[in-house]
C-alpha cells in the first residue's frame, strides 16, 4: 500500500541534496535517516531535503524529520526543504518545522539561499 520509496543523494556545489520520493512515515523513515547520516559522515554542512510534490507525509514522518533537524542543529548544519505541496508547507508551518528548516519554492531558490 505504501508508495515505492526512493531516496537518493546528489551533491550540488557545497550542498548535499537528499531527494525524497514516496511515503515519509515512521515505517519508511529509516532510508531518509540513513541518507542524512551518510551525507553527515561525508562532512555536509548544507543539506537540502528535496521532496517529490506527491509525497505522503504523516505525523510519524514529521517525527523522523524532527530527529534529523535535532541532530543537524547539534552539528551546526544548515537544512532547507523544497518540493513540498502547498498542503504540507502549511502542515510544516503549523507544527513549527519551518523554524528549524526553511522551505524554499524551488531547488534553485534553496541552493541560492544557503
Amino acid at each position: 500500500m505504501a508508495k515505492a520509496q526512493e531516496i537518493s543523494i546528489r551533491p550540488k556545489g557545497d550542498v548535499s541534496v537528499i531527494d525524497i520520493k514516496g511515503d515519509v512515515t515512521a515505517p519508511t523513515g529509516q532510508p531518509i535517516e540513513d541518507a542524512y547520516h551518510q551525507v553527515t559522515a561525508a562532512g555536509a554542512k548544507k543539506i537540502l531535503l528535496a521532496f517529490a510534490s506527491d509525497c505522503y507525509i504523516n505525523s510519524g514522518g514529521i517525527a523522523i524529520l524532527i530527529g534529523i533537524l535535532s541532530e543537524s542543529r547539534k552539528k551546526e548544519q544548515a537544512v532547507r526543504m523544497t518540493g513540498l505541496s502547498a498542503h504540507f508547507q502549511k502542515i510544516f508551518a503549523m507544527v513549527g518545522l519551518t523554524k528549524y528548516a526553511q522551505i524554499r519554492p524551488s531547488e534553485e531558490a534553496a541552493l541560492a539561499d544557503f
Binding site: 505504501a2 514529521i62 535535532s70 498542503h87
Partner: protein
C-alpha cells in the same frame, strides 16, 4: 432537504491501510465539491485518526478492525474512526522546541493535526473502543 447518506469501511490494523481510508474520504469530499485544500486537510486528519486507531487503539493487532463511517448531512461531512481498544490517554500539546531539543518524544502530532485541520472534533471512549468524530463543513 437531501437525505443523509452514510458510507462505511473496515480496515485491518496494519500500518499503511490508513491510506485506503484517506482516499475513500477524499473521494466522498470531492463528490460534495469541497475545495482542494479542504480535501487535503481531511486526508491528513483521516490518516492520522486511522494511524492512531491502528497503532495505539488496536496495538497493531491485524485481527482487530478499524471502522470508518462517513456521513454526509446538510453541507457537512462527518467522519467517525473507531478502534477496538481501551482508552487512549490524552497526549500533551506537542511543542516543537522541546522535541528538537530532545526533551520530549518527536512523535505525538496526530491529535494536534486532527484538531487543527478539522472544524469539529470529539474523542470518546466506549466499552467497544475509542471513537474519533471529525466534522468538516462545506462553508467554513
Amino acid at each position: 432537504m437531501a437525505p443523509e447518506k452514510k458510507f462505511q469501511l473496515h480496515l485491518p490494523s496494519t500500518l499503511g491501510c490508513e491510506k485506503v481510508a484517506m482516499d475513500f474520504a477524499a473521494s466522498v469530499a470531492k463528490s460534495m465539491n469541497f475545495p482542494a485544500d479542504r480535501v487535503e486537510d481531511l486526508k491528513t486528519a483521516v490518516a492520522e485518526a486511522c494511524t492512531n486507531a491502528i497503532e495505539h487503539g488496536n496495538k497493531l493487532d491485524a485481527s482487530m478492525k478499524v471502522g470508518i463511517s462517513l456521513t454526509i448531512d446538510k453541507g457537512r461531512l462527518q467522519v467517525a474512526v473507531q478502534d477496538e481498544g481501551t482508552g487512549i490517554g490524552r497526549v500533551p500539546t506537542p511543542n516543537i522546541d522541546s522535541k528538537i531539543e530532545g526533551k520530549s518524544d518527536p512523535r505525538g502530532w496526530g491529535i494536534f493535526l486532527i484538531e487543527s485541520l478539522m472544524d469539529e472534533v470529539t474523542f470518546e471512549s466506549t466499552p467497544e473502543g475509542n471513537v474519533v468524530k471529525m466534522i468538516i463543513h462545506l462553508e467554513k
